[in-house]
Amino acid sequence: MQLPAIPRPLARVVGALPAFPASLAFSAAGNLAAWPALRGLDWGEVRGRRFCVHVRDLGLKLYFSVGRKGFVPEVASSADVTFTATTEDFVRLGLRLEDPDTLFFNRRLLIEGDTDLGLRVKNMLDGVEFEELTRRLPAGLGQVVTGLRQRAQMQA
């Protein structure tokens, strides 16, 4: 699936944003959109650990942890594990169109820091069925996500 590239000037503006408000917005959006579908996972070993999602093409770093009630934005500019990829690859991973190992071999995904933690989260998310996830997303969003995935599969 070809997602439109992010326009350069926009990337510059986003990249210049201070990290905390971005992390705050990301966590808030995550809690609204994804947490209902993810809350049932066994987060025990993961709780309190700090994650960084580094969106390479936007120059954006999002810091958060996972608490009892969902994603918690983190102020710190360090993380236990950092995932780096482009917007498009993160979206493809989220839609289950891409295998992380494949992206890793092709240098499109980098996991720095605590590898075991990174793998654990990857495997936990892999263990949830896509349909199960989309069913628990807020009304409307589930359909959009399913539609995106189907369109991309047809183009493949």
Binding site: R96, G113, L117
Partner: protein
């Protein structure tokens, strides 16, 4: 009497979605492991708990497919009971077979659950028909997964001399260093496949982007450094680049993937019972992609072995998901013995 199996497609699953992807895309059987060190892909968050395994077995059986349990590590001193309980659970869940490497565990399974079908794991490293026959006579194994070190001529010799069904690796990461006996990972981390169910345990792996490139370290030991335009491989010692007498290169082996599509007609001629796809650590997306290609290829070879030709698109799809920038026929195609 059911007919002898021929080229069954056996696919990996590290999670329930992966199992369903395999079944939905045409696997005849799926192999998986419990969430502990009783199997050789013991990674955090991977594999099946009791509920997932029961659901998986139900899903596969409803569609007439098999589920095989990998119990292919060696019971460690003082912990033998965990491996024995795993055999009991497999029988209880109605697994179609368990894949074992340890003779002691085979003896336990044969004695306690005589109806449970036993497969000899590749970790058992049986490369001759004498070894395979030994396991059949003593424990009644019905299938052996052959190590990826034999040439096809050698496979043929084994096939001609045993009634045990043979399963060959068809696709995936290569791990050829004296299959089943490799201790390289232990050398750097203290953990290896046979003892802890994992080569290069994730807790020992560190990746770091540096000005010189992406570095991979295993318990602090630098095993590779990739320039920006280079493909990366798994962080295993065997596929690292090392400095030997002033030169830095793949001193043990290069990261490549096994891909034996073009040997399918030969494998059919030899009566190979099953083809195994590597990769329980991979995501459902990989399982779906690879299963789809191999289903099409096996169907084609069964329809018309003489006119079988590998579709270029198949190679394209498989190369895309492979480790290393090329694929190989491994030892199967090797003129020397």
């Amino acid at each position: 009497m059911p007919s002898e199996p021929l080229l069954e497609l056996i696919c990996p699953a590290g999670s329930l979605p992966a199992l369903k992807a395999a079944v939905d895309h045409g696997a005849d059987g799926v192999y998986l492991g419990f969430k502990d060190n009783t199997n050789a892909r013991n990674f955090s968050g991977l594999n099946f708990d009791e509920a997932a395994i029961r659901q998986g077995v139900e899903y596969a059986h409803a569609k007439g497919r098999k589920v095989l349990l990998a119990l292919n590590t060696y019971p460690q001193p003082g912990e033998v009971a965990r491996w024995q309980r795993a055999v009991d659970r497999a029988a209880d869940i109605c697994m179609d077979a368990v894949i074992l490497a340890d003779p002691g565990l085979m003896a336990y399974a044969a004695r306690t659950h005589p109806d449970l079908r036993l497969h000899l794991s590749v970790q058992g490293s049986a490369t001759s028909y004498e070894a395979i026959e030994f396991y059949r006579e003593r424990f009644g194994i019905q299938r052996a997964v052959l190590p990826r070190v034999l040439s096809l001529a050698q496979v043929e010799a084994v096939a001609a001399n045993t009634e045990v069904e043979l399963e060959l690796f068809g696709f995936g990461g290569l791990c050829v260093m004296v299959e089943g006996r490799c201790l390289l990972s232990s050398y750097a981390t203290g953990d290896s496949p046979n003892t802890c169910g994992v080569c290069s345990p994730a807790h020992a792996v560190r990746w770091q982007q540096t000005p010189k490139g992406m570095e991979t370290r295993l318990n602090g030991v630098l095993i590779d450094r990739y320039a920006d335009d280079e493909k990366a491989g798994y962080p295993t010692l065997c596929k690292g680049r090392f400095e030997v007498q002033g030169e830095t290169y793949y001193a043990l082996e290069e990261p490549t993937s096994l891909n034996t599509l073009e040997m399918l007609p030969e494998m059919a001629r030899l009566g190979i019972a099953a083809i195994k796809i590597e990769g329980r650590q991979r995501s459902p997306a990989y399982v779906a992609q690879v299963t789809q290609v191999w289903r099409a290829a096996i169907d084609a070879v069964k329809r018309a072995p003489e006119s079988f030709a590998v579709a270029p698109a198949w190679h394209g799809q498989l190369d895309k998901v492979s480790e290393g920038s090329m694929h190989t026929l491994g030892a199967y195609y090797r003129p020397w013995k």
